[in-house]
């Protein structure tokens, strides 16, 4: 799963801490999602995209080639 959270954060001039506080998660979670270490739940993915006022597929894209965190193990 790829995401453009970092791009959207830059567009909105937000730090990871700002975004984390806005959607009610820890800064470490935002960092982990951005780095692809953690795949967020649908609920959290929708919350993030809703915060940026875009559709979910504009922030998250499913990448079949890249193995998920679970598959890597």
């Amino acid at each position: 799963m790829k995401n453009k959270i970092k791009v959207f954060r830059a567009m909105y001039d937000l730090t990871q801490e700002d975004l984390a506080q806005a959607i009610g998660v820890t800064r470490q979670t935002i960092l982990a999602i951005e780095k692809g270490k953690y795949v967020p739940s649908l609920d959290l993915a929708f919350r993030i995209s809703k915060y940026f006022k875009v559709n979910i597929e504009e922030v998250f894209t499913y990448d079949e080639v890249t193995p998920t965190v679970e598959e890597k193990q």
Partner: protein, 168 residues
């Protein structure tokens, strides 16, 4: 507002609100108090004291935890906790069953079964594990469980990016 001054360390907490660091300090004090209770319980040879103290400590810790304002628990941290707990149980029950099976074999004298098998054989005497030995085993299992949990927790925290470096 309540205030507690102890050895130049000042804790300030408002009713129903507590900072994360204050909570961690409180947990530290509870742990020290528990150690004291354990020591005193051993001195007076009364296990009830440490048992009651432990239950009280868990209740105080639970209430205090609910009043912490800046401790965020999100789906990632919950997943880490969940996975670490599950793996701990998975490993622990195997080890516990192996030990229990060994104990049952001892109880039934199974290793001597082929040689001693006779119809007129008297049933083996029922042996009860001495309480002192049982205590050591319990302590061992408790330590094992704690180490397993901490180990798995560190592993999953690392896997889900807890110690990722940030370029910001």
């Amino acid at each position: 507002m309540n205030m507690l001054i102890l050895h130049n360390v000042q804790f300030v907490y408002h009713r129903g609100r507590m900072k994360k660091n204050t909570f961690y300090l409180l947990v530290g004090f509870i742990a020290i108090a528990l150690l004291g209770a354990f020591w005193y319980s051993d001195e007076i040879h009364n296990p009830l004291l440490i048992e009651v103290a432990f239950v009280a400590a868990v209740i105080i810790g639970y209430i205090a935890r609910r009043n912490v304002t800046d401790l965020i628990e999100d789906e990632r941290t919950m997943k880490i906790t969940e996975k670490a707990s599950l793996r701990t149980m998975q490993v622990f029950w195997v080890i516990f069953c192996v030990f229990s099976l060994g104990a049952v074999m001892q109880l039934l004298h199974v290793p001597q079964f082929p040689q001693d098998f006779r119809f007129d054989r008297k049933p083996p005497a029922f042996e009860i594990l001495p309480p002192r030995l049982m205590g050591y085993y319990q302590l061992g299992f408790l330590c094992l469980m704690i180490f397993l949990y901490v180990g798995f927790r560190v592993y999953y925290a690392r896997k889900y990016g807890d110690w990722e470096t940030d370029e910001e």
